[in-house]
Subunit: 148 residues, 2 copies
DNA sequence: GGCATTAGATCGCACTGCGATCTATCTTAC
DNA sequence: GTAAGATAGATCGCAGTGCGATCTAATGCC
């Protein structure tokens, strides 16, 4: 394997960072499902309500927010619309554009999930800000018998 | 939609945070693919080399690191092994355990990717640490015509 | 008005993570 | 020692999801 110690240090830090990230995303995923929406739908709601100034977003804007291709977003919006989370309408000014807004139900779920996330994000931020130490993680690691 | 302004603030911050996250993950994904491995394989390499003290990890440890079920990890390791990125061997002490280590090729790729990621992570951390302002994002947002 | 551009939509596909289930190994109690 | 339970992985089939390729409709521009 022979990895130089400078790289080892970098790798160790990156691993901690990614582990922290995974745990956060996992938390978020469970939170979303606990409210009856998929993680992707939750992100969609967040993008619709929080990415722009006016609480509405086009497919392209959502694709930028989610960092996905717009055909992926089309499908996601379609399913979310069927689930009664968002509403679509054509922009009057440019009728190629599709403006997505939240339904009352979508807004309610987003509000609830956002409150749940607020605290957790602070924890993650604290972990990121620290010089590389997230203590709770080390304890979470399962003990493995030493190799002979 | 009627979302209270306190929630609006929270939602706005969460959206910024998630957008930053998505962009980072996107960057990471492209970096991995540019070196000929899938994003998941990259994370696997990182977990093997950086999650434990000894540069090796069992399936269960990797499942914890990746926050996935261990059957998912079994498949991931299988594919990575076939791609010549990692090696498996049974732990001598507890023969139920499977210890995963990096091949020379896996280590080389991980080293390269880690260097690429180091700077980017710092940028993300900076964005997280700031009181909620990631400026670059606003400019990246596509302009949408105002609704009439 | 005609041509390039842009915003979405449609289709089929491939990957990946999961639930359910199974086997092998280790641990504990008796 | 041995049977019962626990633990670590492996196997199988499936469903969700994001993507490439391609198409249509609306807009911009000269």
């Amino acid at each position: 394997m022979n990895i130089p110690s400078a790289d080892r240090e970098t790798i160790r830090n990156l691993a901690r960072f990614r582990y922290s990230l995974r745990r956060f995303l996992r938390f978020s995923e469970k939170a979303a499902r606990s409210r009856g929406v998929t993680p992707q739908q939750h992100q969609l709601l967040l993008g619709v309500a929080g990415f722009t100034e006016d609480g509405a977003a086009t497919i392209s804007e959502l694709a930028e927010f989610l960092q996905e291709r717009n055909n992926s977003v089309v499908g996601l919006v379609e399913r979310a619309a069927q689930a009664g989370l968002v509403r679509r309408r054509n922009a009057a000014l440019d009728r190629r554009q599709v403006v997505v807004t939240l339904t009352a139900r979508g807004a309610r779920i987003l509000r609830h999930l956002s409150r749940l996330h607020r605290d957790e994000v602070e924890r993650v931020r604290a972990g990121f800000g620290a010089a590389g130490g997230v203590r709770a993680q080390t304890t979470a690691r399962s003990a493995r018998k030493a190799e002979p």
